[in-house]
Amino acid sequence: MGPVHHDLAGEPTFEPMIQIDMEIRTFVSAWRHCDYVSTYMARMISQNRSDSVRHSNLFSSAFNELLEVAFRTRHADGALACRVSRHGATDRIELTFPCLPEERQFYEEAVSQVAGFEARERYLNSVSGDLAPSREIVLLELAVDYNATLRVEEADGDAIKLVVDLPLEGLQH
């Protein structure tokens, strides 16, 4: 592994690996796009992981959930950008997609709750509850089952950027 780089703010530098951009109209035209994009990108970025096949399966599993969240956006215009970068054992997904202002507020609240200490309990309650998993629960599950950390960043226009760090190498055998 090469030297660790840090930017001026002290956060480690994530090296870009792959990016896919699509018109959101194109993306939401077929549900299967979530599966295609997550599978393709997982294979591309897993080649030099210690166990490429298992890493690819895990990454695709987590990334597909995020893409399914983006698929349900109510904003019909703009672009979807999926970017993956890496720092050591952690892969970072930056998913930018159009959303309405009220949706942005929802995501900000959902992500802030993911970090809460009762996240696991809330996730378990949702599994045993009657309602189908909401977008908030999907984000919670990433934290609970994949040890992901999540945050929301500013994006241009009517868009939101979800930043998800996945330390999947640590989940390997």
Partner: protein, 392 residues
């Protein structure tokens, strides 16, 4: 949209004999309606069983949260409506997320337990995976490689191919192939974590590129189908109780027109001079000992039949004999001594063999070593090589 988009990519089944509901493949529905028949099947299974319902997700490659929630709800509801019923969810450690995700269910309902299947996967192979065996495995590969490097090109090995080495063990064969033939990519799979850790360490220390080691179950691999020009599987069908399941998978991942290459032994044909009788008796007993643990170390000559029955064509079979004359006779002797330790040691003890049998059994190995090191002696270990082409 391609026609493939319309095909279901998962399968749900119920086996009434084993009270087992299984679901496999990629389950990523947009709406729960898409799961209707599978959910009905699970509900129906719950209605029929008594005692325990096994839920087998070993071959479940992907399942999104929507589908997971739908199936979980049915299981949780059933636990609450029927406290007499227990659920055992069988996951695979190969698919990293399944044990974590399904494991949550046991935290919600005590009547749900989650078991990882792979710990029981190869019934007898634990004997051969202990750390002390690694130097011997390396020596064995060194001895067989002298022959196989000349044999492999007759079975499809050539530079630039994409190949898989299934049941790669400590990965030494993959490394030798990489150096000798320069395939463009090697995926090497094994279910032994300690062996893979060793293989990765070697790869790092010697700065070897182009090999991807992956953890997996040879009879149910995560690898995509039809992606390899050559698939090798050495000395492994013989220590698996259902070799036809592995061959089915080797066939699946091989490209049409590509080849599957297997090597196996016929242990009762190990030989030596002098002291041939004692040696022959012991190796006949080796075959019976492995048979006791559901392993067929007489499989070598059966390779042709297995390949034909798996659907291969253009089947090629040849044999070679590793002998004490190939290199340093001490290498040969070291390998026999290691076999004696395991076969006349832990395996014989586990079978319940008495001291008289063990003494005679061990003597045959000693005589094989004697033959190997004797200035006029000859000692041999025969290997069967076979390959078949997947039809276009």
């Amino acid at each position: 949209m391609s026609p493939n988009d319309l095909l279901p990519r998962f399968k749900a089944q119920y086996d009434a004999n084993n009270q087992e509901f299984s679901i496999s493949g990629v389950v990523r529905p947009q709406a729960i309606d898409e799961l209707g028949p599978s959910i009905a099947l699970l509900r129906d299974a719950i209605g029929r069983v008594r005692g325990v319902l096994y839920v087998n997700v070993r071959r479940l490659t992907q399942m999104n949260n929507a589908a997971f929630h739908a199936f979980s709800r049915i299981i949780i509801d059933a636990c609450r409506a029927r406290p007499d019923l227990k659920f055992v969810v069988i996951t695979s450690s190969v698919v990293g997320w399944t044990s974590r995700k399904f494991g949550r269910l046991s935290g919600i309902e005590p009547n749900v337990t989650v078991e990882e299947y792979d710990s029981q996967f190869y019934p007898g192979q634990g004997f051969l995976e202990e750390g002390g065996f690694v130097p011997i495995l390396r020596t064995q590969t060194k001895m067989t490689w002298r022959h196989e490097r000349a044999i492999l090109p007759r079975h499809g090995m050539r530079p630039g191919i994409v190949m898989a080495d299934i049941c790669c063990g400590i990965g030494d064969f993959a490394v030798l192939v990489q150096k000798e033939f320069q395939p463009s990519r090697i995926v090497a799979l094994d279910h032994s974590i300690s062996s893979l850790n060793y293989a990765r360490r070697v790869m790092r220390e010697f700065d070897i590129r182009g090999i991807e080691y992956t953890y997996g179950d040879a009879s149910e691999m995560l690898l995509d189908e039809a992606q390899f020009d050559l698939v090798t599987c050495r000395h492994s069908l013989q220590i698996f109780n259902r070799p036809e399941l592995i061959l089915k998978e080797l066939y699946r991942i091989c490209k049409p027109g590509g080849r599957v290459y297997i090597t196996n032994e016929k242990n009762s044909h190990c030989l030596g001079e002098p002291r041939a009788e004692s040696i022959r008796w012991t190796y006949n007993e080796v075959a019976k000992l492995f048979g006791h643990f559901e392993m067929d170390v007489e499989l070598g000559p059966k390779s042709r039949r297995y390949l034909m029955e798996a659907g291969f064509e253009d089947i090629r079979v040849e044999t070679f004999m590793v002998t004490n004359l190939d290199g340093d006779p001490q290498d040969f002797a070291d390998v026999i001594a290691a076999w004696a330790d395991v076969y006349a040691g832990e395996m014989a003890t586990r079978r319940g063999d008495g001291p008289e049998f063990v003494a005679r059994f061990r003597q045959g190995f000693q005589d094989h070593i004697f033959a190997a090191l004797h200035p006029k002696g000859y000692a041999g270990w025969p290997i069967w090589v076979a390959s078949g082409r997947r039809p276009q």
